[in-house]
Protein backbone atom coordinates (compact mmCIF):
# COMPACT_ATOMS: atom_id res chain seq x y z
CA UNK A 1 0.00 0.00 0.00
CA UNK A 2 2.81 2.39 0.81
CA UNK A 3 4.77 1.94 -2.39
CA UNK A 4 4.92 5.16 -4.35
CA UNK A 5 2.65 6.89 -1.90
CA UNK A 6 3.30 10.22 -0.26
CA UNK A 7 4.75 9.63 3.24
CA UNK A 8 2.21 11.87 4.97
CA UNK A 9 -0.67 10.18 3.17
CA UNK A 10 0.68 6.81 4.33
CA UNK A 11 0.72 8.08 7.91
CA UNK A 12 -2.82 9.48 7.60
CA UNK A 13 -4.12 6.17 6.30
CA UNK A 14 -2.43 4.35 9.19
CA UNK A 15 -4.18 6.72 11.60
CA UNK A 16 -7.48 6.25 9.82
CA UNK A 17 -7.44 2.48 9.43
CA UNK A 18 -5.30 1.29 12.33
CA UNK A 19 -5.50 4.16 14.84
CA UNK A 20 -1.70 4.02 14.61
CA UNK A 21 -0.22 6.24 17.34
CA UNK A 22 3.32 6.14 15.95
CA UNK A 23 2.05 7.43 12.61
CA UNK A 24 0.14 10.13 14.47
CA UNK A 25 3.31 11.10 16.33
CA UNK A 26 5.11 11.54 12.99
CA UNK A 27 2.35 13.80 11.68
CA UNK A 28 2.34 15.68 14.97
CA UNK A 29 6.11 16.21 14.91
CA UNK A 30 6.01 17.73 11.45
CA UNK A 31 2.75 19.66 11.40
CA UNK A 32 1.99 20.80 14.97
CA UNK A 33 4.94 23.28 15.09
CA UNK A 34 3.82 24.69 11.72
CA UNK A 35 0.24 25.05 12.88
CA UNK A 36 1.47 26.79 16.03
CA UNK A 37 3.57 29.22 13.97
CA UNK A 38 0.64 29.79 11.59
CA UNK A 39 -1.67 30.65 14.51
CA UNK A 40 0.90 32.98 16.07
CA UNK A 41 1.31 34.78 12.74
CA UNK A 42 -2.47 35.18 12.79
CA UNK A 43 -2.38 36.95 16.16
CA UNK A 44 -2.64 34.21 18.78
CA UNK A 45 -0.25 34.32 21.74
CA UNK A 46 1.99 31.30 22.40
CA UNK A 47 -0.32 29.69 24.97
CA UNK A 48 -3.42 29.98 22.81
CA UNK A 49 -1.51 28.83 19.71
CA UNK A 50 -0.19 25.78 21.57
CA UNK A 51 -3.69 24.84 22.69
CA UNK A 52 -5.24 25.38 19.24
CA UNK A 53 -2.45 23.42 17.56
CA UNK A 54 -3.18 20.50 19.92
CA UNK A 55 -6.89 20.76 19.15
CA UNK A 56 -6.16 20.86 15.42
CA UNK A 57 -4.14 17.66 15.67
CA UNK A 58 -6.81 15.98 17.82
CA UNK A 59 -9.40 16.88 15.14
CA UNK A 60 -7.15 15.27 12.53
CA UNK A 61 -7.36 12.04 14.52
CA UNK A 62 -11.13 12.21 15.04
CA UNK A 63 -11.93 13.13 11.44
CA UNK A 64 -9.36 10.88 9.76
CA UNK A 65 -12.17 9.03 7.96
CA UNK A 66 -12.99 12.20 6.01
CA UNK A 67 -9.48 12.72 4.62
CA UNK A 68 -9.37 11.94 0.89
CA UNK A 69 -5.91 11.92 -0.78
CA UNK A 70 -7.59 12.31 -4.17
CA UNK A 71 -8.81 15.75 -3.17
CA UNK A 72 -6.23 17.20 -0.76
CA UNK A 73 -2.70 16.85 0.51
CA UNK A 74 -2.27 16.28 4.24
CA UNK A 75 -0.88 19.84 4.59
CA UNK A 76 -3.96 21.23 2.84
CA UNK A 77 -6.31 19.26 5.02
CA UNK A 78 -4.56 20.35 8.21
CA UNK A 79 -4.57 23.94 6.94
CA UNK A 80 -8.38 23.89 6.68
CA UNK A 81 -8.76 22.50 10.22
CA UNK A 82 -6.32 25.09 11.62
CA UNK A 83 -8.01 27.90 9.69
CA UNK A 84 -11.38 26.96 11.17
CA UNK A 85 -9.91 26.90 14.69
CA UNK A 86 -8.40 30.34 14.05
CA UNK A 87 -11.80 31.76 13.07
CA UNK A 88 -13.57 30.08 16.01
CA UNK A 89 -11.10 31.25 18.58
CA UNK A 90 -9.66 34.54 17.29
CA UNK A 91 -12.71 35.97 15.52
CA UNK A 92 -15.28 34.19 17.68
CA UNK A 93 -17.42 33.34 14.67
CA UNK A 94 -17.97 30.14 12.77
CA UNK A 95 -16.67 29.13 9.38
CA UNK A 96 -19.52 27.26 7.66
CA UNK A 97 -18.19 24.22 5.79
CA UNK A 98 -19.56 22.61 2.62
CA UNK A 99 -21.45 19.35 2.94
CA UNK A 100 -18.98 16.51 3.58
CA UNK A 101 -18.26 14.13 0.75
CA UNK A 102 -16.93 10.92 2.27
CA UNK A 103 -14.46 8.62 0.56
CA UNK A 104 -17.25 6.78 -1.18
CA UNK A 105 -18.01 3.11 -1.41
CA UNK A 106 -14.54 2.06 -2.60
CA UNK A 107 -12.29 1.67 0.43
CA UNK A 108 -9.14 2.48 -1.53
CA UNK A 109 -9.56 5.18 -4.18
CA UNK A 110 -7.41 5.32 -7.26
CA UNK A 111 -3.80 5.44 -6.05
CA UNK A 112 -2.34 6.84 -9.25
CA UNK A 113 -4.71 9.81 -9.03
CA UNK A 114 -3.94 10.33 -5.36
CA UNK A 115 -0.22 10.26 -6.08
CA UNK A 116 -0.60 12.73 -8.94
CA UNK A 117 -2.47 15.15 -6.70
CA UNK A 118 0.20 14.88 -4.00
CA UNK A 119 2.91 15.60 -6.60
CA UNK A 120 1.00 18.57 -7.96
CA UNK A 121 0.58 19.91 -4.42
CA UNK A 122 4.33 19.64 -3.97
CA UNK A 123 4.92 21.47 -7.25
CA UNK A 124 2.53 24.20 -6.11
CA UNK A 125 4.70 24.67 -3.01
CA UNK A 126 7.80 24.93 -5.21
CA UNK A 127 6.09 27.44 -7.49
CA UNK A 128 5.09 29.48 -4.45
CA UNK A 129 8.69 29.47 -3.23
CA UNK A 130 9.87 30.63 -6.67
CA UNK A 131 7.55 33.65 -6.86
CA UNK A 132 9.02 37.15 -6.58
CA UNK A 133 9.09 37.97 -2.88
CA UNK A 134 6.55 40.77 -3.04
CA UNK A 135 3.98 38.53 -4.68
CA UNK A 136 4.67 35.61 -2.35
CA UNK A 137 4.35 37.77 0.76
CA UNK A 138 0.96 39.00 -0.43
CA UNK A 139 -0.33 35.42 -0.76
CA UNK A 140 1.09 34.45 2.64
CA UNK A 141 -0.52 37.50 4.23
CA UNK A 142 -3.89 36.49 2.77
CA UNK A 143 -3.68 32.97 4.22
CA UNK A 144 -2.31 34.14 7.58
CA UNK A 145 -5.45 36.25 7.87
CA UNK A 146 -3.73 39.64 7.49
CA UNK A 147 -5.86 40.85 4.56
CA UNK A 148 -9.54 41.74 4.35
CA UNK A 149 -11.54 40.13 1.58
CA UNK A 150 -11.44 43.31 -0.48
CA UNK A 151 -7.63 43.42 -0.23
CA UNK A 152 -7.15 39.89 -1.53
CA UNK A 153 -5.81 39.68 -5.08
CA UNK A 154 -6.60 36.52 -7.00
CA UNK A 155 -3.86 36.90 -9.62
CA UNK A 156 -1.43 34.43 -8.06
CA UNK A 157 0.60 33.40 -11.11
CA UNK A 158 0.50 29.83 -9.75
CA UNK A 159 -0.56 26.55 -11.43
CA UNK A 160 -3.88 26.26 -9.60
CA UNK A 161 -5.70 25.07 -12.74
CA UNK A 162 -3.94 21.68 -12.81
CA UNK A 163 -4.92 20.98 -9.19
CA UNK A 164 -8.48 22.11 -9.83
CA UNK A 165 -8.79 19.71 -12.81
CA UNK A 166 -7.35 16.86 -10.76
CA UNK A 167 -9.86 17.42 -7.93
CA UNK A 168 -12.70 17.76 -10.45
CA UNK A 169 -11.80 14.36 -11.88
CA UNK A 170 -11.83 12.81 -8.40
CA UNK A 171 -15.24 14.34 -7.69
CA UNK A 172 -16.69 13.01 -10.95
CA UNK A 173 -15.45 9.51 -10.06
CA UNK A 174 -16.87 9.79 -6.56
CA UNK A 175 -20.27 10.93 -7.87
CA UNK A 176 -20.28 8.08 -10.38
CA UNK A 177 -19.44 5.54 -7.67
CA UNK A 178 -22.12 6.89 -5.35
CA UNK A 179 -24.88 6.36 -7.92
Amino acid sequence: MTRGQDAWVTSMIAVRDARDEAAFARLFGHFAPRVKAFLMRSGADATLAEECAQETMATLWHKAHLFDPNRASVATWIFTIARNRRIDVLRRTRHPEPEDLPWGPEPEPDQADALALQQESKQLGEALAALPEKQRVLIEKAYFGDLTHSEIATETGLPLGTIKSRIRLALDRLRHAMK
Partner: protein, 217 residues
Amino acid sequence: MTMHDINHHLTDKLLMAYSAGALPEAFSLAVATHVSMCDECRARLGAYESLGGAVLERADTVAMAPDSLDVTMARIRNGAPVVNTPAPHKRGVLPAPLCDYVGGDLADVRWRSIGMGVKQAILPTSRDATARLLFIPAGAAVPDHGHRGTELTLVLQGAFVDETDRYGPGDIEIADEDLHHMPVADIGADCICLAATDAPLRFRGMIPRLAQPFLRI
Protein backbone atom coordinates in the same frame (compact mmCIF):
# COMPACT_ATOMS: atom_id res chain seq x y z
CA MET B 1 -31.54 20.10 -6.14
CA THR B 2 -29.49 18.92 -9.07
CA MET B 3 -25.78 19.05 -9.73
CA HIS B 4 -26.08 19.93 -13.39
CA ASP B 5 -27.16 23.09 -15.15
CA ILE B 6 -25.50 25.55 -12.81
CA ASN B 7 -24.53 28.54 -14.95
CA HIS B 8 -23.67 31.21 -12.39
CA HIS B 9 -20.70 30.41 -10.19
CA LEU B 10 -18.59 31.94 -7.44
CA THR B 11 -15.82 34.38 -8.37
CA ASP B 12 -12.14 33.55 -7.77
CA LYS B 13 -12.09 36.39 -5.28
CA LEU B 14 -14.85 34.88 -3.15
CA LEU B 15 -13.29 31.41 -3.31
CA MET B 16 -9.84 32.62 -2.33
CA ALA B 17 -11.19 34.85 0.45
CA TYR B 18 -13.29 31.93 1.77
CA SER B 19 -10.29 29.59 1.71
CA ALA B 20 -8.18 32.19 3.53
CA GLY B 21 -10.93 32.63 6.14
CA ALA B 22 -11.37 36.33 5.31
CA LEU B 23 -15.11 36.51 4.60
CA PRO B 24 -17.88 37.61 6.95
CA GLU B 25 -19.76 34.57 8.26
CA ALA B 26 -22.87 35.31 6.14
CA PHE B 27 -20.81 35.29 2.93
CA SER B 28 -18.98 32.13 3.99
CA LEU B 29 -22.37 30.49 4.47
CA ALA B 30 -23.39 31.41 0.89
CA VAL B 31 -20.07 30.11 -0.45
CA ALA B 32 -20.26 26.85 1.54
CA THR B 33 -23.85 26.30 0.39
CA HIS B 34 -23.07 26.90 -3.29
CA VAL B 35 -20.03 24.59 -3.03
CA SER B 36 -22.28 21.91 -1.51
CA MET B 37 -24.37 22.10 -4.71
CA CYS B 38 -21.60 22.63 -7.28
CA ASP B 39 -18.66 20.26 -7.87
CA GLU B 40 -17.01 22.73 -10.24
CA CYS B 41 -16.66 25.33 -7.48
CA ARG B 42 -15.77 22.60 -4.95
CA ALA B 43 -12.79 21.74 -7.16
CA ARG B 44 -11.85 25.43 -7.63
CA LEU B 45 -12.06 25.90 -3.86
CA GLY B 46 -9.89 22.80 -3.40
CA ALA B 47 -7.18 24.48 -5.49
CA TYR B 48 -7.23 27.61 -3.32
CA GLU B 49 -7.15 25.49 -0.18
CA SER B 50 -4.10 23.70 -1.64
CA LEU B 51 -2.48 27.11 -1.73
CA GLY B 52 -3.24 27.48 1.99
CA GLY B 53 -1.65 24.05 2.51
CA ALA B 54 1.46 25.19 0.62
CA VAL B 55 1.68 28.32 2.78
CA LEU B 56 1.38 26.20 5.94
CA GLU B 57 3.97 23.70 4.70
CA ARG B 58 6.43 26.53 4.01
CA ALA B 59 5.69 28.38 7.25
CA ASP B 60 8.23 28.77 10.03
CA THR B 61 7.92 26.42 12.96
CA VAL B 62 7.45 27.23 16.63
CA ALA B 63 8.42 24.46 19.06
CA MET B 64 5.52 22.79 20.82
CA ALA B 65 5.58 22.33 24.59
CA PRO B 66 7.64 19.25 25.65
CA ASP B 67 4.58 17.30 26.81
CA SER B 68 2.30 18.40 24.00
CA LEU B 69 2.03 15.05 22.20
CA ASP B 70 1.04 13.31 25.45
CA VAL B 71 -1.46 16.04 26.26
CA THR B 72 -2.94 15.71 22.77
CA MET B 73 -3.21 11.92 23.06
CA ALA B 74 -5.04 12.45 26.37
CA ARG B 75 -7.35 14.92 24.62
CA ILE B 76 -8.03 12.30 21.96
CA ARG B 77 -8.79 9.56 24.50
CA ASN B 78 -11.13 11.85 26.42
CA GLY B 79 -12.72 13.25 23.30
CA ALA B 80 -15.89 12.32 21.49
CA PRO B 81 -16.02 8.71 20.30
CA VAL B 82 -15.06 8.44 16.65
CA VAL B 83 -17.94 7.88 14.30
CA ASN B 84 -16.54 6.10 11.32
CA THR B 85 -19.71 5.90 9.28
CA PRO B 86 -19.88 8.11 6.22
CA ALA B 87 -22.03 11.23 6.51
CA PRO B 88 -25.59 10.46 5.47
CA HIS B 89 -26.34 11.35 1.90
CA LYS B 90 -28.62 14.30 1.44
CA ARG B 91 -31.71 14.01 3.60
CA GLY B 92 -33.91 16.94 2.70
CA VAL B 93 -34.17 20.08 0.62
CA LEU B 94 -31.53 22.32 2.18
CA PRO B 95 -27.79 21.62 1.83
CA ALA B 96 -26.04 20.66 5.11
CA PRO B 97 -24.46 24.06 5.94
CA LEU B 98 -27.90 25.70 5.81
CA CYS B 99 -29.54 22.95 7.88
CA ASP B 100 -26.99 23.85 10.55
CA TYR B 101 -28.10 27.48 10.64
CA VAL B 102 -31.83 26.74 10.32
CA GLY B 103 -31.64 24.03 12.96
CA GLY B 104 -33.49 21.61 10.71
CA ASP B 105 -34.69 21.52 7.12
CA LEU B 106 -36.98 23.70 5.01
CA ALA B 107 -40.04 22.78 7.09
CA ASP B 108 -38.34 24.18 10.20
CA VAL B 109 -37.66 27.67 8.81
CA ARG B 110 -39.42 30.37 10.85
CA TRP B 111 -40.64 32.69 8.13
CA ARG B 112 -41.78 36.28 8.65
CA SER B 113 -43.91 38.00 6.07
CA ILE B 114 -42.44 41.15 4.53
CA GLY B 115 -45.44 41.90 2.32
CA MET B 116 -46.88 40.87 -1.04
CA GLY B 117 -46.43 37.23 -0.18
CA VAL B 118 -42.66 37.57 0.17
CA LYS B 119 -41.27 36.03 3.37
CA GLN B 120 -37.85 36.04 4.96
CA ALA B 121 -35.95 34.37 7.77
CA ILE B 122 -32.77 35.96 9.10
CA LEU B 123 -30.11 33.41 10.01
CA PRO B 124 -27.86 33.75 13.06
CA THR B 125 -24.46 34.97 11.82
CA SER B 126 -21.94 37.55 12.97
CA ARG B 127 -23.13 41.13 12.44
CA ASP B 128 -20.59 42.23 9.81
CA ALA B 129 -23.01 40.86 7.19
CA THR B 130 -26.54 39.46 7.11
CA ALA B 131 -27.73 36.12 5.76
CA ARG B 132 -31.40 35.45 5.18
CA LEU B 133 -33.64 33.00 3.42
CA LEU B 134 -36.14 34.57 1.05
CA PHE B 135 -39.38 33.01 -0.10
CA ILE B 136 -40.79 34.61 -3.25
CA PRO B 137 -44.16 33.25 -4.43
CA ALA B 138 -44.32 32.13 -8.07
CA GLY B 139 -44.54 35.21 -10.29
CA ALA B 140 -44.00 37.71 -7.44
CA ALA B 141 -41.23 40.29 -7.22
CA VAL B 142 -38.81 41.50 -4.57
CA PRO B 143 -39.08 45.32 -4.54
CA ASP B 144 -36.68 47.18 -6.85
CA HIS B 145 -33.49 47.77 -4.90
CA GLY B 146 -29.84 48.69 -5.13
CA HIS B 147 -26.87 47.84 -2.94
CA ARG B 148 -24.35 49.76 -0.96
CA GLY B 149 -22.10 46.76 -0.60
CA THR B 150 -22.17 43.28 -2.08
CA GLU B 151 -25.19 41.00 -2.26
CA LEU B 152 -24.93 37.28 -2.97
CA THR B 153 -28.19 35.55 -3.93
CA LEU B 154 -28.15 31.76 -4.20
CA VAL B 155 -31.21 29.94 -5.57
CA LEU B 156 -32.18 26.86 -3.55
CA GLN B 157 -35.48 26.07 -5.22
CA GLY B 158 -37.44 27.51 -8.17
CA ALA B 159 -35.86 30.33 -10.18
CA PHE B 160 -35.83 34.10 -10.52
CA VAL B 161 -35.22 36.50 -13.36
CA ASP B 162 -33.87 40.03 -13.17
CA GLU B 163 -32.32 42.61 -15.50
CA THR B 164 -29.16 40.51 -15.81
CA ASP B 165 -30.29 36.90 -16.42
CA ARG B 166 -32.30 33.92 -15.21
CA TYR B 167 -31.10 32.12 -12.08
CA GLY B 168 -32.09 28.52 -11.31
CA PRO B 169 -31.24 26.07 -8.50
CA GLY B 170 -27.58 26.32 -7.50
CA ASP B 171 -27.00 29.55 -9.44
CA ILE B 172 -25.53 32.43 -7.47
CA GLU B 173 -25.89 36.08 -8.44
CA ILE B 174 -23.12 38.39 -7.26
CA ALA B 175 -24.43 41.95 -7.20
CA ASP B 176 -22.37 45.00 -6.31
CA GLU B 177 -23.08 48.69 -5.93
CA ASP B 178 -23.71 49.21 -9.64
CA LEU B 179 -26.66 46.86 -9.89
CA HIS B 180 -30.19 48.08 -9.33
CA HIS B 181 -32.49 45.13 -9.81
CA MET B 182 -35.92 43.69 -9.16
CA PRO B 183 -35.78 39.89 -8.95
CA VAL B 184 -39.02 38.22 -10.09
CA ALA B 185 -39.75 34.58 -9.28
CA ASP B 186 -40.46 32.25 -12.19
CA ILE B 187 -44.16 31.80 -12.80
CA GLY B 188 -43.91 28.02 -12.51
CA ALA B 189 -42.85 27.62 -8.89
CA ASP B 190 -42.18 29.47 -5.65
CA CYS B 191 -38.57 30.57 -5.36
CA ILE B 192 -36.46 30.08 -2.25
CA CYS B 193 -33.07 31.80 -2.07
CA LEU B 194 -30.29 32.45 0.38
CA ALA B 195 -29.24 36.11 0.28
CA ALA B 196 -26.15 37.52 1.99
CA THR B 197 -25.41 41.26 2.19
CA ASP B 198 -22.72 43.30 3.90
CA ALA B 199 -24.76 46.55 3.85
CA PRO B 200 -28.48 47.35 3.95
CA LEU B 201 -30.30 47.27 0.62
CA ARG B 202 -31.55 50.54 -0.89
CA PHE B 203 -35.11 50.54 -2.13
CA ARG B 204 -36.38 52.93 -4.74
CA GLY B 205 -40.00 52.98 -3.63
CA MET B 206 -41.20 55.02 -0.65
CA ILE B 207 -42.94 52.32 1.34
CA PRO B 208 -40.21 49.71 1.45
CA ARG B 209 -37.80 52.40 2.61
CA LEU B 210 -40.07 53.27 5.53
CA ALA B 211 -40.45 49.63 6.42
CA GLN B 212 -36.75 48.88 6.11
CA PRO B 213 -35.70 49.42 9.74
CA PHE B 214 -38.37 46.98 10.90
CA LEU B 215 -37.67 44.35 8.32
CA ARG B 216 -33.88 44.40 8.49
CA ILE B 217 -33.97 43.51 4.81
